[in-house]
Amino acid sequence: MKRNKPRSKQRRGMPSIHQVMVERLSSGLRPVRAPYAIKVQWLLWLSSALVLGLLFFTKMPLRDDLKESLTTPAFDVMILFIFAAAALSGWGTIEASIPGEENKGKWKQKTAATLWGSAALIFLLFMPCNADNYLEHKTFMPCLLTVLVIGTVYWFLLSLIIRRNAPLNSRRMGVWTGLSAFLFGLGIITLHCGSQNLYHVLFEHFLPVLAFSWLMGWLGARWLSGWKRKPIS
């Protein structure tokens, strides 16, 4: 009588768990959707960021002196640096969220951080700023909260995009996502708040980008590592 050949046989040098795992993982395998190309994801991020920004400006007005400010080269370069940093950081984040591509995102994050620093320097050196009493400033605190709210919304949006890519270092990815998101927040608040107070702009516009990005690392550690806890079907 002809005996049926066993479907799976023990492979030489492999532990018995190998065959068990192969059978377990391959049986009932479900199709999955491969991620979109990085450029497509990045364009999706930029277009959503633009739509969100326009939505924010329906609720909060642009600064009164925007027209005059836009005629100042220093202001233009500062705004350009902020949004370029946000876009570049988003690109690096999306790229780094794909296994095997993490290192490609590093220079983009470094460049984004440098652009953020350069924008702050441009404000300090070339913009007409004053150092009046910070605590008496009329827009004390709201700008900080606005950056937090706008940045958090952007953070969740970008997180939704990169969560599908299986990010490996979720804490780092949380920080990087935060950098892109809060840079957009900084750009929007710069177009909204026309304060020239040095302390206000530094503590409520520029520095929250770093502080909140760092905080988002904690949130990212939970939220972005969800795929690792997905049950095996």
Partner: protein
């Protein structure tokens, strides 16, 4: 263990099929990359008892992240990044687990019969019987009858420290005689 460029290309092709739900392609792919991953894990995990667990973890991660492979990108960096990360996760988890374990200096002494029927071995019985009464009784009371130092001392009408000295001498003599007896056999 190394794979040729054509093998990597063929695995990348298989991965496309895996993403579309082809079970047979997945089985073949796992069987082909399995030895590569197992050898990767074995070279990094020094604790032999953990190798299989880490390997299993690597396969689980690979399975969970199979959607993240971009078919236009090389397969090797994707595979080994996942393997390395999952290896680090498994090691980290194991370290956390080990930190919570309570290490004891001595294992609790378990009473075990010397022979199948629970009686003392013939050799030990003979050697014990040869001991002088002053040394034999403390040993019997403390090791066979299970009395405490105080109880045994009270029963023999001697101080606890005297009992300890006699018991210690009894053990030493017992050991010496037992070794001599076994040496002559």
């Amino acid at each position: 263990m190394k794979a040729s460029p054509s093998q990597w290309q063929s695995w990348a092709q298989m991965m496309k099929k895996v993403q579309s739900g082809d079970e047979e392609a997945y089985r073949t792919l796992l069987n082909e990359i399995g030895p590569l991953l197992y050898s990767y894990v074995r070279r990094r995990v020094f604790n032999r008892s953990m190798v299989d667990d880490v390997y299993q973890e690597v396969l689980f991660t690979l399975h969970r992240a199979r959607h993240s492979y971009m078919t236009d990108r090389p397969f090797a960096p994707w595979l080994f990044t996942l393997a390395h990360n999952s290896f680090l996760d498994a090691i980290g988890r194991n370290r956390k687990f080990a930190e919570r374990e309570v290490q004891v200096d001595f294992l609790p002494e378990a009473a075990q019969p010397d022979t199948k029927d629970g009686s003392l071995g013939d050799d030990l019985q003979q050697v014990l019987a040869q001991l002088p009464e002053s040394l034999r009784r403390p040993v019997e009371m403390m090791k066979l009858e299970g009395l405490s130092v105080e109880e045994a001392a009270r029963a023999l009408g001697i101080s606890a420290s005297a009992l300890k000295v006699r018991a210690h001498r009894g053990y030493a003599r017992l050991k010496k005689n037992l070794l001599e007896k076994r040496g002559t056999k």
